[in-house]
């Protein structure tokens, strides 16, 4: 962990401390003050205790960063705000708590965590400082009060003002803050109508309802709940005062976000919705396809099973017949039936074959429907040789001959016309067709 950079501010402040010179700070020359930036403008007065601290820190070397110093101070301020119990154990607790809080809070900067870890290591030493600082801070407070009073009186008259504060530490001049607040604060008490300021302070500390600052959803929810409570309370108060709250539906005026922006938002919403819908549809289609195949297979299996069953039944019947000893009361119908059964049985040995084929589902009417159609169209079996060659009959057939066609230009014109496939339909028609499917 490089420490040099965190010490940037120290030398300057030390110099200031070393001087220990009282300076008069004017109200007017803001230019000078600005130049000095964040370095304390006010006069530095160190208690001896502070000096000791300084020495100790020097010995410690560059370990103490500005950040560390800042954290040392935090418990001190808490104490100032609350009770003045100054026990070592208390201090330690405070310090630990502080570090934890810091650890949790600053998620964006990794290196700070490292810093904190270091701090906990140097925590004991820090505690020593705290005690010393607390003692000195009490004195500081007293001084502050006096100075602020002076400042108040002088400030209005535009005269010179002097105030004293610690140089090395970060500044939190509570008295000064309160006086500044008093100077410019609007009256938001119950004496003024609510419509005057329209500000609502929540009843809860919002941070308490945020489990982790990195949890975006929970955090935003907490903020929203705060605002929602304010909206409810505000509406109640405003209605009580008779201030119009709800915008009537026929009140049109320029809005904060332009119509184009809202149009964009709407377009985006619609796009998202359609995308969602389309993906859902596609998924459904996929599922359907998968399911459809399953159904088909199941159907085929069922058919095969049915076929097997009927065959078995017929076999059984046949056996029974044989056992029964020939055709007894044989009329013609039964004869016919017998023939059918025999035929079926003759196919018996080949029935094994058919069983094999049965798995393919071609058992029913022999080949599948497509084959059947093709067979019907082109014929099946038989001699293939010379099938296309002319014979006496075909050569005598002149029905396809037309003298007029011959004259007009031969087959070049006619043939392509004949074999030209149907033109591809237009896009719209194709789409419509797809929709039907």
């Amino acid at each position: 962990m490089p420490r040099q950079s965190t010490r940037t501010k120290k030398p300057a402040t030390e110099a200031l401390e070393a001087e220990k010179v009282e300076k008069l700070v004017e109200e007017k020359p803001q230019k000078e003050q600005k130049k000095r930036g964040r370095k304390p403008k006010q006069v530095v007065e160190e208690t001896p205790v502070e000096d000791k601290m300084e020495v100790e820190e020097e010995q410690k070397g560059e370990e103490t960063t500005t950040q560390t110093k800042a954290d040392e101070q935090k418990p001190e301020q808490q104490e100032e705000a609350g009770s003045d119990s100054e026990e070592g154990s208390d201090d330690e607790e405070d310090n630990d708590l502080d570090l934890d809080a810091l650890d949790e809070s600053d998620s964006d900067s990794e290196f700070e965590r490292d810093l904190n870890e270091k701090q906990s290591a140097a925590g004991i030493q820090a505690n020593k400082y705290q005690k010393a600082a607390e003692e000195s801070s009490d004195e500081e407070e007293d001084e502050d009060e006096i100075d602020i009073d002076e400042l108040d009186v002088d400030g209005e008259e535009g005269e010179e003002v002097k105030a004293i504060s610690k140089a090395r530490q970060t500044i939190n001049n509570k008295q000064g803050l309160l006086t500044a607040l008093k100077r410019f604060a609007l009256d938001t008490t119950d004496k003024v109508p609510f419509a005057f300021h329209q500000s609502i302070v929540a009843k809860k500390v919002t941070e308490e309802s945020i489990p982790s600052i990195d949890d975006d959803l929970a955090r935003e929810l907490a903020f929203m709940n705060q605002a929602l409570e304010a909206a409810r309370v505000g509406r109640t108060l405003l209605r009580k005062e008779g201030v119009p709250f709800t915008r009537p539906t026929d009140y049109f005026a320029e809005t904060l976000r332009s119509d184009e922006t809202m149009e964009k938002v709407k377009a985006k919403l619609i796009e998202e919705a359609t995308a969602k819908k389309a993906s859902a549809e596609a998924r459904k289609q996929r599922d359907l396809k998968k399911f459809g195949k399953q159904v088909q297979v199941a159907k085929q299996q069922e058919r095969a099973k049915q076929k097997r069953d009927t065959l078995e039944k017929i076999n059984l019947l046949k056996k029974k017949r044989k056992d029964g000893g020939g055709p007894t009361g044989a009329n013609e119908a039964e004869d016919l039936f017998d023939v059918a059964v025999d035929n079926e049985l003759k196919g018996g040995p080949s029935g094994n074959n058919s069983k094999k084929r049965g798995r393919d589902g071609k058992e029913g009417g022999g080949p599948n429907a497509k084959r059947q159609r093709k067979d019907a169209k082109f014929g099946f079996g038989g001699k293939k040789k010379y099938a296309k060659s002319n014979d006496a009959l075909s050569s005598g057939d002149v029905s396809g001959f037309s003298a007029r066609k011959m004259k007009s230009g031969g087959p070049a014109g006619g043939k392509p016309k004949k074999f030209k496939p149907a033109p591809r339909p237009g896009k719209a028609r194709r789409k419509a067709g797809a929709g039907k499917r």
Partner: protein, 324 residues
Amino acid sequence: MAAVYKSLSKSAKKVEDTENDNNTTTNGGFRKNKQRVLILSSRGVTYRHRHLLNDLAAMLPHGRKDVKFDSKSKLYQLNELAELYNCNNVMFFEARKGKDLYMWFSKVPNGPTVKFHAQNLHTMEELHFTGNCLKGSRPLLSFDLAFEQEPHYRVIKEVFLQMFGVPQGARKSKPFIDHVMSFSIADGKIWVRNYEIREVEKAKGEKDSEGNDIVPESDKSSSKKRKGAPNAELKDTDVSLVEIGPRFVLTPIIIQEGAFGGPIIYENKRFISPNQVRSELRKAKATRHNARVEQVKERLGKLETLTAQAKKEKDVLDTRELFA
């Protein structure tokens, strides 16, 4: 004559007159809220900073947008500028290094000034929220309870109240209230959000159950509502919020007593400058690299010494010695 009587009778009642500002007059026992905000940025703002500035300017009908200010060191000049435009608030966007945005909120003649570091900026345009509200309608300002607990937060709250709160009867403001600006403190930072208030119809039973889930105060407020306004319409509607934007997070850095000057009365010890953060990151990276380079060097050195040793030392039993 009646007016004179009115004013006299009212002035008898008023108490807060003693603490007067130059921009305030008395009206019915309390100060009149007269605010005008000068909104401007420094040079070198990015598009996002600029859009945020535009968003805020659109939300403040009492705001006056000005051209970019050409200095980052002489901010006290802004005081004169504000005076020129009759503004008593200045909202100044200071961009540094083309990426960091600092926001200065200042009450002009007498201060205080608050300097923030703005992070996580999201403008209205880029956030695709569905909320919208009237341009220039007065917002409800919702503050976290934490704003009341520390003096510096109280100062910040007051500054926000005067800057973002549209004063009653502001010139371009609209008569209805349809949005809430919420300021919450979490993680030592101030999170600013802007929501539209939408009135939704709700059945009574639903309202009780759901309202309890969201906010415990709803019961009380709804009962108050019924008492206060016996309209049938009021009973049925409830409030829901839809975010509008923009979003941003402010880390207070300092509070100065004057306007762009004066002693610093608060300094945030938890604030770390983004420059420092970046440099730390860079250094962390550099140390990693340095360690690696050192390792390589060490290894090479070892290798060298070993080879040198091997060359130097010739043993008696070396093959070259033996069979030379």
